[in-house]
Structure formats: C-alpha cells, structure tokens
Amino acid sequence: MEFDVVIIGGGLAGLTAGLALQEKGKRTAIVSAGQNALHFSSGAFGLLDAEDPLQAAKELPEHHPYARIGAENLPKYTEAAKALFGKAGIALNGEPLKNGWRLTPQGGLKRAWMTLPEVDIFPDKEAIKGHKVLIVNLLGYLDFNTSFLALGLEKQGCSCRIETLRLPEMERLRENPSEMRSVNIARVMDSAWIKVAAEIKTLVKDEDWIILPLVFGLKDATVPDRIREAVPAKVLFVGTMPPSVPGMRTQMQLKKAYEALGGTFLMGDEAISAKTEGSRVLSVSTRNLGEVKAAEFVLATGSYFSKGIASDMNHVFEPIFGADVLLDEGRSAWYDPDFFSPQAFLSYGVATDGQFRVLKDQAPMDNLHAIGSVLGGARSLELGCGAGVAILTALSVAETI
C-alpha cells in the first residue's frame, strides 16, 4: 500500500495529526497497535501546570517540545486545537490560552487547560468552596470512591451527603461483579440515564451540587447534558478508574471524523521495521500489511506503555527506526530512589531537531517526524503537559508536511 503520509500510532497525537493532514488534502493512514492513552483520560487535557501556561512555556529548556515549537507559536496552535476538535463534534470546555481548574476523584482541584464536554472547568479555585453536595453512586460500582471525594470536598468547606442508587437495569451486570466497570455500566446508561435523573430528583434536598461518576455518554454523547437538564441542581461528573468512558468515546469520535475525511485507520496493526536510504525513510513494514510506502512518516507511538519507547536492563531505545533517544548516561542516573520524586526515565524519548525531524546517529531524517509522548524531554507527568504536547506537536508537524 502507498500513502502520502503514514502515521504510526493512533492515540491523541496520531489522530490529531491525521485529522489536520486529511483536512490539508493529504492521503494518510494511521497504524494503531491496540488502543491508546485516551482510554485512561481523566476527561481533562493539560497544557502546562502553571498559573500562566503560555508565559511559563517561555522558561522551558530547549529540549522541551514546547521550546521546539517556540513559545510565540503556541497560541495559534492552542486555538487551532479547539477548532479541530469542534469540527470532529467535540466541543471542548475552557479557554485555549488559559488554565482553569477541574475537580479530581479525591475531591481536590487540579489545573486543566481544556476538558471534554461533560467535565466542568472552573476559572478559579473559589468556585468549588462552600457547596452543599450530594454524591451519587450506583450500587456495586467500586471504581468510584465516594468517601475520598467527600473528604476532599469537606476540606474545601463543602458539606457532603452520599447516596447509592439501586436500578433494576443494573441487576444483570451485578451477576458478574468483576465486570462492574465504567464502560459496561455506561452501555446500560445510554438508555437508563432517564431513571438515574428521576431518582436523583427524589433524593435532592437542599443540595446545590450533584456529583456523579463518569459512566454516562459512551455511544450517545448527549446523555450528560440531558441529565443536567433534568436535574434541578448543578450536576458534575467526576472521573473513575479506567477505562475512561469520555476518553473511549472521544477516541471513537476522532477516528470516525478521520475516516469521514478519507483517512485509513489500521486498527490492531503494528509497524515492525523500516526501510531507509540515507536520510530518507522509504517504507515501514507492518505485521498485517507488509511494506507500506509513503512520502512522509510521522512517529506517534507513545512512550513506554504503548511500546513507542522500549527498554531493557541497560538500554532505552526506539524499536522501529532505532532513532536517537535523549537519556542520561549510566543506569543509576535514570531514577530517583524516592518513588514520588520526578523520575528521569519518564522524560526519555526520541531526539529531534527544531522541526521535530527524528535524529538518527545525530543526523535528522528528512521525512520522519516525531510527535506526542514518544518525544524526549517533555517530562509530562511532572509538568502536566501530556495532552498539550500530543496535540500541539501534532498540529505543528502537520503544518510543515
């Protein structure tokens, strides 16, 4: 097979690049080895964990992907990101140029850049204080810890009451307690939400906030809003243990939008090796299709979890192209024995030049760009920039090819 661009990796970065490139009229394919990090999404995207993220981006070291994009270029891509998701039918909450706050499953607040439609984003920390909160769970669902949530909120000056709903629609699921998972519940809730809304109405006393687990809106994205309309108090949805219902739906929406633009999504396929000539990639070989040729290649394979970056006892490497990896010399420098300290190994990833062209033997490959969490130097867990790096590097690279 032959395409204009082959994108390796079908997560947030790969899909964003695919959408942007299809819109530009390129004929692209996405090779996706299994599902991706969207399935673990909190429902919120992080840009940078700082009061003024665009200002803070100016201070980042040169290896950080934002420094490669150039802090002055970030605003145009943050605006473009919101527009791109909007075209795919996903109305993100939040301001592209600012940070807000979102409620965590522990009842705390965490900075967020933009959120998926059902997740609230607050302009300031005060918005969460002093509420009367009714937290509602579903009987038998263990992946949503109501007591943690209540404890956290009480520290913010809220008062909380916890109720558990028992719905006949859920009884069949309860036959199999190990499968009382977010997604299985959400399948039932695409129709049973009406009963949840009705039950809540009878439970509300003087509460002004209702908090529900994020198990609504799997196939039908309108369900969370319809619950909001039906309930006489503000309804907030809070993330659960994986899989993430809004993340999974977002992946399906992005994939569908990509295919509607003519993109070819190769689910469950995997790039195994590459053929190169000098500084050009000629083709990649996938497990299912064999040789796939393209003029341009985009590496969006993710980090360790997605096997975009692999390691053994003494090496950290990029398995498809053997690209250069940014890392520290000597194994002892890779980690801090204090588990909760920022861990150096988490920042290791592919080395690129200023245009995200992948370096191999310290020289850039002409037609191979890297985007998203396969990139070295992002420190996304520490800096809270994982989704921002995925989306903004994808948009930046899509513009150059």
Partner: protein
C-alpha cells in the same frame, strides 16, 4: 537463558497491564453476563489456572473467539488465544452430537450434497426446524445454508475454462462453503482471476480449515485437517504458486490458528496464503493488472468487516477494491461483531445473545439502507441476511458482476 525466558508464557499473559480495554471492546460482555469477560477469562484466569486447573471455568465457552480483545489490547497480549488454549487444555465437556454435526462441515457437505434438493427442502421446513430445535438444540430461527447439488470442484473440473492459457497461475483454497453451499462464489473467483490474466488451480484435495472443529472442542480432528492442509498447501508452494482464498475466516485459521492453537507448524506456507482481494489490490496498484468495469454499473454498498478480517487487518483491501468500481456508492460500517461467530449462533442456547450482539450492526445497516451488504465471511453473510433481509455479497462476486467482459 535470559530473565524473560523464565518469566514469559506461550501467549504472553504476563504482559497484561490489567487496563480492562479488552473487556470494553468485547462483544459478548454486554450481551451475556455469564461470560467473565476477556481479561478475567484470559490473562487473569491463566495466572490461576497455571497454579491449579481447578480454576478453569466452563463459562469460557461463551467466548466467540472473535479476537477483538487482541485487536484492542495496548500491550499485544494474545487474550483470545489464552482463552481458547485454556478451553483446549482444561475443558472437561465433550462436544455433543449437535456440535459434531455443526462442526463437520465437509463431512456433512459430502453426505448432504447428492440429496441437495431433498435436504434443502427438509431443512427449510418449519417442522424440521422444530424437530432440530427440540432434539438437537439447533435454534429454530436459523435457516440452514442451502446445499448445492453440484459442488464447485466438480464444476471446476468439467466446466471451468482452460486455465493453462494463462502464464501466471495461483492455487485456490475454496473452503467448504464454496464447494458444498455456494459454488457461485468460486465461479466468480475464476472469472475475476481470468479477467486479471491469472489462471486458477485447485489444491490436491483440501479439507475444511477446521475452524468449526476448534470452536466445538474437536481438537484432534482439527489437528488432522491442519496437518493435511499444510501438506497440500506446501505442494502448491513448491510449485511456485500463491494460495488465494475468498473467506477471511478460513484464511485467518490457516495462517494464525494452526500454529497458535493447534501447534501445527505452517511456517513454510503461512505467508503464501492470502485473500484474493489483497492479491488483486496489490497487483492492480503495482500496475501489473488492469480491470475493466462496466460503464453502467450502479450499487449502493455497505461493507461489514468480519471479526477475523479485523484481526487480519485486511479489510482495507476489500474496501479499496470496492471503491475502485465506478458507480459504487460506498459506506464502511462501524466495527461491530454480527454475533454469529460460525456455529455459535446456531446453538439454541446462544440464539438470543447472538442477535443482541449483532443488533448495533443490523440497526446501522437499516439506517444506511444499501442495495446490498458486502462482506468476506460466509457465516456473517447468513447472519446478516437472516437479520436484515438484505442480500450479502462477497467483494469478489461484486467485482465479477461489475466487470466488463
């Protein structure tokens, strides 16, 4: 020996991260609460079963072996292989007479075909269906595939145009369905190949690929078939011929289930077995083959990707070929299991689950309202035809009717 060799298993269950993504994409879990789900039935259960076979549960039989868990797994765990291998290794339940009949597709075909008009008449009768339902637990809603009076092989030997006139030759693994039930697909295959300038050979007595035996626990039989097929496929490979197929499930079984589940070494033939759609697409895109289509062909087509086609990753070839036909209005249906899973849906105890699994697909087909559905799998065809009332055609048959010859 490295650390990994001490700590890894045949189907890599230890690479499972417990993320539950497989369960989120399993078509059985939402339809049948008795099924423990792929994570529990697969890698979680395997850890326990390795300690003590006591932990094997017969509910693993509810797995369709559709492999959607493997397609979704971010860690590359062979979830469905773990489940099927556990059934083979630990299950104490013996296949019933019904299961043996459903699974012995070529044996039953040989028996039934000489009496095709009688058998077809009988299996179509409400009374027969009621008896089969009551005595054999074959669900009465099902329509048995019709048997063809004259098999594809005998048609080919007597009536196929001279194949030796083509310089390029391929071998065709037609499978039971083409031989006993629907020779027209085989005839269409010959027509399309010949139009592409390629001659067709049959194999030296192929047997059923064995997929139905695997799913009905008849492993010894499946192994015999696999060993036989690998030998006859090997002869074609020795003669320098590719082996082409028109069924995604036969293809997947011979390429991947032989080594993974049956332990039959197919390394010599595996990469030579390919779907005709893939072969054609590659020859067309390299410019070696040109097909001429009718100018007045019109069809609104919705393509369904069978589960084993999702696993093979080759749906893209069928899709691209169909899009090449001028006058085709094309829709790619969402990735959903149709629910039949070979013989699974024929069993009375599975009928309701089978239809519940397929419902999202049937609903979408009704919304799209195509002239007919396209699909590379014969059992999906039966299920979709029964459940939607629309005709289902193999992409090769669609090419055959659209060709200008």
């Amino acid at each position: 020996m490295t650390l990994q060799e001490y700590t890894s298993s045949a189907h890599n269950f230890e690479e499972c991260m417990k993320c539950t993504v497989c369960t989120a994409y399993c078509p059985v879990v939402p339809a049948n609460p008795k099924y423990p789900g792929p994570k529990q039935a697969g890698p979680d259960g395997e850890r326990l079963r390795l300690k003590d076979p006591f932990f094997f549960e017969e509910t693993l039989k509810y797995c369709l072996n559709c492999k959607r868990c493997e397609v979704a797994c971010p860690s590359g765990v062979k979830v469905a292989d773990i489940i099927q291998a556990a059934r083979i290794r630990y299950s104490k339940s013996k296949p019933k007479l019904r299961d043996r009949i459903l699974a012995s597709t070529d044996f039953m075909g040989t028996l039934a075909r000489p009496f095709a008009p009688v058998v077809n008449g009988m299996t179509g009768l409400g009374a027969t269906k009621a008896v089969l339902d009551a005595t054999m637990a074959i669900d009465k809603h099902r329509t048995f595939p019709k048997y063809s009076f004259k098999g594809f092989e005998s048609w080919f030997r007597k009536n196929a145009p001279d194949q030796t006139r083509f310089p390029e030759q391929v071998s065709y693994f037609h499978g039971c369905y083409v031989n006993y039930n629907f020779p027209q697909l085989g005839k269409d295959f010959v027509k399309v190949m010949n139009a592409a300038g390629i001659g067709v050979n049959l194999l030296d007595k192929e047997k059923c690929c064995g997929v139905a035996m695997i799913s009905n626990g008849m492993i010894d039989g499946a192994k015999k078939h696999a060993a036989h097929n690998v030998a006859v496929l090997g002869k074609a490979v020795d003669a320098g011929r590719k082996i082409l197929t028109t069924s995604s499930t036969c293809t997947f079984t011979m390429r991947d289930e032989y080594p993974e589940l049956l332990g039959i070494d197919n390394s010599k033939v595996r990469d030579e077995i390919t779907l005709a759609t893939r072969y054609l697409y590659e020859r067309i895109s390299s410019g070696e083959v040109k097909l001429k289509f009718k100018k007045d062909y019109h069809a609104k087509i919705a393509y369904h990707t069978p589960c084993h086609m999702e696993k093979l990753g080759w749906g893209v070839y069928s899709v691209e070929l169909l899009k090449m036909i001028p006058g085709v209005e094309f829709t790619l249906l969402d990735s959903n299991c149709c629910g039949i899973a070979g013989t699974y849906g024929f069993k009375k105890e599975n009928y309701e689950v089978s239809q519940a699994i397929g419902k999202p697909l049937f609903d979408q087909i009704a919304r799209v309202a195509p002239d007919f559905v396209a699909c590379d799998c014969e059992t999906c065809k039966w299920q979709i035809e029964m459940s939607t009332g629309l005709q289902v055609k193999n992409p090769i048959s669609i090419l055959a009717e659209a060709l200008d010859i």
